[in-house]
């Protein structure tokens, strides 16, 4: 008994010691990342002349809040921000606002949480809303906007400037139902493009394939690849509790290509049921690829069990085991580090099916909403409507700036630049439908119904009925 307890004590000691050692060894470098003291603002005297009226009516007096901020008017103030991105994205975000913080002396305190969707409601209800929140799902913002707790940006931001800097459809997507009437609930800061098919460029060219321009060409190429001995597509929809979401993107993309944008909007609003022929047709088109075991790497069965992030990996085997992966531009963060954009891999636009619907593009993005109205928060919001606010992030890759003043030269890869162009030139721009639908459908039955259909536990009709049932709850 004595012996064992002595041994345990020594074990404990060793554990504690080793841990402290490790901690102290790496503890030193961390403080470096803390906020640096704000850079000296350009002469305060000059600015203080017009600060009284400027701060009070926040716009007309001495220029816009952003101009005032740039003069150092709000030096030393803090703006809290809450959003869903963490880790690498957080580093990129902080880099992109660094210069603004140094120039204005406004400290933007960003807090990222993986549980953003769950937490933001509690914070808003508990009266602890951040000054600015970043919503990846406009549907979520819409439900909060209805409670009247989101500040209407219509009179806060210069509408003329916004119109000049954004595609009208972005502004429309930021307009939501408030407590009394329509309000401008948020502005778009980051976007990503979804209608992309990734392929291993080098081997693709070596194999003598050509990028398809129409859906039929794409299907012919798929068949050709199957004959050559590979499954063309790699598809994975496993994503923990969110399993099924990549399937919804496919349906949305095909919907845009097989029916009118008006029908798409109706569908997203719940006016066009899932059981309608339009939606059913879209899923059937998708099934031509998904349910053909020769077209999908690992066969149809593996779709449900493959994690969406692991799905593209067969493309990077040598020789590739599969060739196409339809996914938004964020997927590159799952690609192997050794693979180089524009050289080893590239993307092509998911081709149109019916010519009359042009070249629609499915996008997603982050909308920033304001919860506390203070002059410095206004300034930061205005800053976020400029391309400058996202410049370094654009340069480091992975996002597309929705603003028009974001220059195409900023993109560091040809691939990103083409994406930005694609968005700017799109005949129809539509937001990811499942993110716009209410949670019970868009993040509930839609995911589940598609998973059931693909895994074979439900027939198409039954699955669509099941998805539609989500609207009633």
């Amino acid at each position: 008994m004595k012996k064992t307890s002595a041994r345990k004590w020594s074990l404990l000691l060793v554990l504690c010691l080793s841990f402290t050692m490790v901690l102290s060894a790496c503890g030193g470098g961390n403080n470096a990342s803390k906020n640096e003291p704000p850079a000296p603002a350009p002469s305060n005297n000059e600015a203080s002349g017009n600060n009284q009226d400027g701060a009070n009516n926040g716009g007309d007096g001495g220029g816009s809040p952003l101009d005032l901020a740039m003069k150092g008017e709000y030096k030393g103030t803090k703006v809290t921000m809450f959003g869903p991105f963490v880790d690498a994205d957080q580093v990129k975000f902080e880099n992109s606002i660094k210069e603004f913080e140094e120039k204005t002396g406004i400290d933007i305190q960003y807090e990222g949480s993986k549980e953003f969707e769950a937490t933001i409601n509690i914070r808003v209800d508990g009266g602890n809303a951040p000054d600015i929140a970043d919503f990846p799902q406009p549907g979520l913002l819409a439900s909060i906007a209805k409670t009247g707790k989101v500040i209407d940006l219509t009179n806060i931001l210069d509408q003329e400037k916004l119109k000049a800097n954004y595609n009208q459809s972005w502004l429309d997507m930021g307009t939501m139902d408030g407590k009394d009437g329509k309000i401008m609930a948020g502005i778009w800061n980051r976007s990503n493009v979804k209608s992309l098919v990734w392929y291993p460029k080098k081997q693709f060219e070596e194999a003598g394939y050509e990028v398809p321009q129409t859906w039929d060409e794409m299907m012919a190429l798929t068949e050709q690849i199957a004959k050559d001995g590979d499954a063309a597509w790699n598809i994975g929809i496993e994503s923990g509790a969110a399993t099924g979401w990549p399937a919804t993107d496919w349906v949305e993309d095909i919907m845009l290509r097989t029916t009118s944008p008006e029908n798409y909007d109706k569908w997203v609003k719940g006016e066009l049921p899932f059981t309608s022929p339009e939606v059913k047709h879209a899923v059937e088109v998708m099934s031509e690829i998904w349910l053909n075991k020769d077209y999908v790497y690992g066969g149809t069965k593996s779709i449900v069990t493959t994690a969406f992030g692991d799905a593209p990996s067969p493309m990077f085997d040598n020789p590739p085991k599969s060739w196409f992966h339809r996914q938004g531009n964020f997927i590159t963060s799952f690609f192997p580090e050794t693979a180089k954009v524009d050289v080893d891999y590239d993307w092509f636009y998911l081709p149109p099916i019916d010519e009359q619907y042009g070249k629609p593009v499915l996008v997603a993005g982050d909308i920033y909403a304001m919860f506390n109205d203070r002059p410095e928060v206004r300034a930061v919001m205005e800053f976020f409507t400029t391309g400058e606010s996202i410049k370094t992030w654009v340069q480091s890759g992975g996002v597309i700036a929705p603003m028009n003043d974001a220059s195409l030269d900023w993109y560091s890869s040809e691939s990103d630049r083409r994406m930005a162009k694609l968005v700017q030139e799109a005949s129809t721009l539509r937001f990811d439908g499942s993110d716009l639908m209410p949670g019970q459908v868009g993040a509930g039955t839609f995911w589940k119904g598609m998973t059931d259909y693909v895994s074979g536990t439900a027939t198409l009709d039954k699955a669509l009925e099941q998805i539609q049932a989500g609207w009633k709850n």
Binding site: L12, F19, C26, K92, E111, G229, P319, S333
Partner: protein, 364 residues
């Protein structure tokens, strides 16, 4: 004689069963532990048991070249035998060797033979990334790359400790005062009050989040250590009081009576008699409360948030996997690092633990 033998036999059986259950419980932990030393690509592809020596199919170097124009949708002939494409995809055994596609496109089959795999690929990268922070590669405008180092777990570790220690000591201290009062002081409303406190055990803490958050906002306690100490104290108190009450009310009455006769005040009795006598109970409920606070995610998420200077370990670890879960393999090592502290506490206090566990078992 016979009876004793029988007892011995049944004891062995019980031990075997217990050992088996122990093993069953330990296997997932063991798997996680081994995984934490494996490279990310390996974790994705094979199970953790592959680190042990095992037989595996290896390429023998031979391959079979089929005619280029072989139609894959028809039965495929290889050396006089026909196989289907599916068979060749998953591998088909012929005379102890296995045939499998090497390059389906080029129509080559590789012949594989069984061999032993001894040397597992192990790495410390997962621990390095978690402890000293990940490295982020950022592209600059001119196409060059800069590497920026993220923060490691150390700050979060101290934050968690700063939260967990007071959030354990405060409720245990308050609860032992309360338990003494409920057990040995006679005052009106004692029973009602006690029942009310016990009734709070059934209230899930989630329903209190928004009201408490509103109060905290009004008081300015959000995101402060004081706020979260109070929150943990309040959420933990009912159980701790109940536990301590059961223990303290079981202490022999005679002790206190004699102390009273000798002129001891309630406070003397409490500090000189009750506290030393209830060390086992204090230790075991202390472990419970500490573990709860250490592993807590929800309460910290709501009341203290995710700013780096107050962020707790559980939240930092959740962030490690990245916005889209691309680095989930880091969870393996992070889980083990976050386990160290509770393990240390457990071993430190474990001799009280079993004794104290019975504190709640005999109702007073």
């Amino acid at each position: 004689m016979v009876g004793r033998k029988k007892r011995k036999g049944s004891k062995t059986l019980v031990n075997i069963i217990l050992g088996f259950i122990c093993l069953l419980w330990l296997i997932p932990t063991l798997g996680l532990f081994i995984s934490s030393f494996r490279p990310a690509a390996d974790i994705l592809q094979t199970g953790w048991w592959n680190v042990f020596p095992h037989q595996d199919w290896k390429k023998s170097g031979e391959s079979v070249q089929l005619p280029k124009e072989t139609d894959l949708r028809q039965p495929i002939e290889v050396g006089g035998k026909t196989f289907t494409d599916d068979q060749l995809k998953s591998g088909v055994t012929v005379d102890g060797d296995r045939l499998m596609w090497e390059n389906r496109r080029a129509r080559t089959l590789s012949v594989m033979e069984k061999g032993w795999e001894f040397k597992p690929a192990l790495t410390l990268d997962n621990y390095k990334n978690v402890l000293s922070g990940k490295e982020y590669k950022l592209k600059n405008a001119d196409g060059s790359e800069t590497v920026q180092k993220g923060s490691g777990l150390s700050q979060a570790f101290w934050n968690t400790l700063t939260i967990a220690v007071p959030a354990t000591v405060i409720p245990v201290l308050i609860a032992s005062f309360a338990a003494y009062a409920f057990a040995w002081l006679r005052f009106p409303g004692r029973k009602t009050l006690f029942v009310v406190i016990i009734a709070m055990l059934v209230i899930p803490l989630q329903v209190a989040l928004i009201p408490v958050l509103k109060d905290y906002t009004a008081l300015g306690l959000n995101g402060s250590y004081l706020g979260i100490w109070l929150a943990h104290t309040a959420f933990g108190l009912p159980l701790v009081i109940y536990f301590m009450y059961n223990f303290i009310s079981q202490l022999p009455k005679d002790l206190f009576e004699s102390a009273f006769i000798d002129g001891a005040s309630h406070f003397t009795i409490f500090s000189r008699l009750i506290l030393p006598l209830s060390v086992p109970a204090l230790a075991s409920i202390g472990i419970f409360q500490f573990l709860w606070v250490w592993n807590d995610y929800l309460v910290s998420l709501i009341f203290i948030g995710n700013q780096p200077d107050v962020q707790v370990m559980s939240m930092k670890i959740a962030d490690l996997v990245g916005s889209r879960g691309n680095d989930w393999h880091l969870l393996t090592s992070a889980a083990f690092i976050s386990m160290l502290m509770p393990l240390a506490i457990f071993f430190l206090l474990q001799k009280y633990f079993v004794r104290g566990l019975m504190g709640g078992s005999v109702k007073g």
